[in-house]
Amino acid sequence: MKTNILENSGADLATSLRIALVSLLLCGGIYPLIIFGFARFVFPESASGSLLRNQAGTVVGSRLICQAFSKPGYFWPRPSAVKYDASAAGGSNLSPAGPEVRQRAMQSVKDFGADPLRPLPADLAAASGSGLDPFITLRAALFQAPRVAGARGMVLSDVETQVRRHAAGRQTLLSNEGLVNVLALNMELDAMQKNKLAPRW
């Protein structure tokens, strides 16, 4: 039996259009609205991007998104291939065996003042995938603690205590490394000093 497979093409076209419209409204409209409704009313903070505010109520950043730090009194984040641009994120996409990464790592070694006796934790030399990694390892934070304490005129052990406090609780069964949220830690240090006296730098 020979039948023309296109004999129903008119009906096919009409049905396709109807199914397309139904699925479009469902997947592009109703589904996101359900998720949005839940997020908006049950988790309003994270729904709008986990934004952090200072005491005056101004948005200073997002708990999940790294920002640039270059002053010695702040902990510095991992290198970012996009200069911490949270409106156009991205990694370096460079080969980890290539000369460009080596160049950049040498610069990091210099900036952080590392030497063979006090080698740089590797996360401070490697750019993150998003360029916005909000964390550094506990070791990378402790490595920077003397510089931060010095610049702020704080006792080193006080700074280290804060670092350890921030790293705690992030150690789960399977993520074996303590991690420190750079922005949260820096905000905390600012707040601590503001309550005592204005920062000396």
């Binding site: 997020a39 080969s95 065996a97 000369p99 996360d123 998003s130």
Partner: protein
């Protein structure tokens, strides 16, 4: 630690795939008693009377192609008009024509290759109505076609109704799972807002623009439907797409889930569960191998740090710390075994040899593969394997109680060769002209790998990339757009033609001389076919790309 992580990342989806496979079968092939419920009536109301018509394989394919053509046109129009459409709080401008073609082809074909960065170029309207919609219906197209193939191999000349299958997969398989995952992601901290970018005044007094949007909804279906197209440029490395260890876990186990369950659905519809478990084992073995190799290779430190005063740690370039060690390697293996293509680390910055792992996955494209279509690809290897065995013992080969003859073999070989042809020809042309050579970021063999990866990803409908490549150019957009379309539809049309032609034959009784397809021996046959054919086709380019890259950087 990495081994425990590997176990948790792979064992859980394997376990979940069993009940899901049973559920999917019940949805796609409802047993008689649940057949004509209110749901069926509602679906007929939505879609029209054609939904009640059973189709032969040709009619099914025609419906599929017409629907996909409608998808293509609608998405292209929406993208082209985005600057005038609503839900555009950040005022995204118009998209360039070849980028619209590429993006449309990419999302219609379940590839999600992205030559744009979502937060830079796409309005919320485009993200939701054009791209998220596609992520549902392109995945549903794959599941539907596998259901049709399975029914044909079960001996049915009428293979179902495409529209009914599509609606069923969207409504009852993809939608509930996506809602579940999206809600979990929201709890885990993924944003879901229609507000525009947030402006922050940083601690050092600079201004930071923080892009956000309706992220959770899109991320859920991109993980579940083997789509992979993220809301943001760097995909699931972005803290808003993947904020924590836990969200990373959920997203990673979602990647292979439905593709794994598809194998069980095939087994149940054809009534050959033992055969399905043989195939499942072969796929799982390859996936475990891939993941293990990736973990091992990626635990090596960055070669570039050699001799510098830097602590020795596993390669961290392009990786996020919060996911824990080893998880990036497993994700890279899983996302390219299935045709997902989402990433939680930058594949371009994997260690030189590790880059071979995702490439190999896309070359074979049968290690669970895309939802539905992964098994359809494997079907071709099965036919070839059965044929080789038949030739060795001098019998007409049989599969699922039907003879496999010249007509089927011609189609199978054609289907088998399309994939390498698209990859190798494309790579050759672009590597030897400025179209490709002028767009790479890394020099030498690594740059060649960038070109090779792009074509492999397009042909395999994967969508991940060695993203250093400057691929938003007219030649790249047009070439990979065409490759994605050919790499999607030919490997669906030809296998369905084979299955349809087999279903039309008289069944042959299974005797002692019949090649058993449900034994460990058959697993070895399939494993051999996949590996030997894959190795023969792609060994030369593997050596030119990642292997040469490794040798040139490790021997100094």
């Amino acid at each position: 630690m990495s081994i425990l992580m590997l176990l948790l990342l792979l064992a859980v989806p394997v376990l979940l795939s069993w009940p899901l496979g049973r559920y999917m079968t019940e949805i796609m092939n409802p047993s008689a008693r649940s057949g004509d419920g209110t749901v069926a009536i509602l679906m007929t109301k939505a879609g029209g009377g054609m939904l009640n018509r059973e189709q032969e394989w040709k009619g099914y394919l025609v419906s599929m192609l017409i629907f996909n053509a409608i998808m293509f046109v609608t998405v292209a129009i929406m993208l082209a008009l985005q600057q005038w459409l609503p839900l555009n709080p950040d005022g995204k401008g118009p998209l360039e024509a070849s980028l619209i073609f590429n993006t449309t082809a990419s999302f219609v074909t379940n590839t999600n290759l992205q030559h744009y960065a979502g937060e830079v170029s796409m309005s919320y309207f485009s993200q939701l109505f054009a791209l998220t919609w596609m992520q549902f219906v392109s995945a549903a197209t794959g599941i539907s076609c596998l259901a049709a193939l399975s029914r044909a191999l079960a001996g049915n000349r009428l293979v179902g109704n495409f529209y009914r299958d599509l609606l069923r997969s969207v409504l009852f398989i993809l939608m509930p799972l996506s809602v579940l995952l999206a809600l979990s992601l929201v709890i885990g901290g993924v944003p879901m807002t229609f507000d525009g970018s947030a402006l922050a005044k940083t601690l050092e007094g600079a201004t930071q623009t923080i892009a956000r949007g309706p992220v959770a909804a899109m991320v859920a279906i991109k993980q579940l439907g083997t789509n992979g197209g993220g809301f943001f440029g760097p995909n699931s490395t972005h803290p808003f797409e993947n904020p924590s260890f836990l969200t990373n876990y959920l997203e990673c186990i979602s990647i292979p889930l439905i593709a794994m369950a598809s194998v069980w659905m095939f087994g149940r519809i054809t009534g050959r569960m033992r055969h399905a478990s043989v195939i499942f084992s072969v796929m799982l073995l390859l996936l475990v191998l891939k993941s293990g190799i990736a973990i091992y290779l990626e635990s090596a430190p960055s070669m570039a740090f050699k001799g510098l005063p830097i602590e020795v740690m596993s390669n961290l370039e392009g990786k996020e710390l919060r996911f824990g060690s080893g998880t990036a390697a497993v994700w890279a293996a899983v996302t390219t075994a299935t045709s997902n293509g989402s990433v939680n680390c930058m594949h371009d910055s994997l260690n030189p040899l590790t880059g071979l792992v995702p490439l190999a996955g896309m070359w074979l494209n049968v290690i669970f593969g895309g939802v539905g279509v992964g098994f359809i690809n494997m079907f071709i290897f099965i036919i070839v394997g059965v044929f080789i065995c038949g030739m060795m013992v001098g019998r007409t080969p049989e599969y699922c109680a039907r003879k496999v003859e010249t007509h089927e073999m011609k189609l199978a070989l054609l289907a088998l060769l399309v994939h390498p042809l698209l990859i190798l020809v494309g790579t050759a042309v672009f590597a030897s002209t400025t179209w490709g050579a002028g767009t790479v970021l890394n020099k030498g063999a690594h740059g060649f790998s960038e070109i090779l990866y792009e074509f492999s990803s397009a042909a395999a409908n994967n969508g991940s990339g060695f993203e250093g490549l400057g691929d938003n150019t007219v030649p790249w957009n047009v070439a990979t757009g065409l490759v994605m379309l050919l790499g999607r539809y030919i490997p669906i049309i030809l296998p369905l033609a084979i299955a349809g032609s087999m279903a039309a034959k008289k069944p042959v009784p299974e005797t002692t001389g019949t090649l058993r397809i449900d034994t460990p021996l058959f697993a070895v046959v399939i494993l051999g076919s996949v590996l030997l054919i894959g190795a023969l086709l792609f060994m030369p380019v593997a050596v030119l790309g990642p292997v040469a890259d490794y040798l040139s950087t490790s021997i100094q």
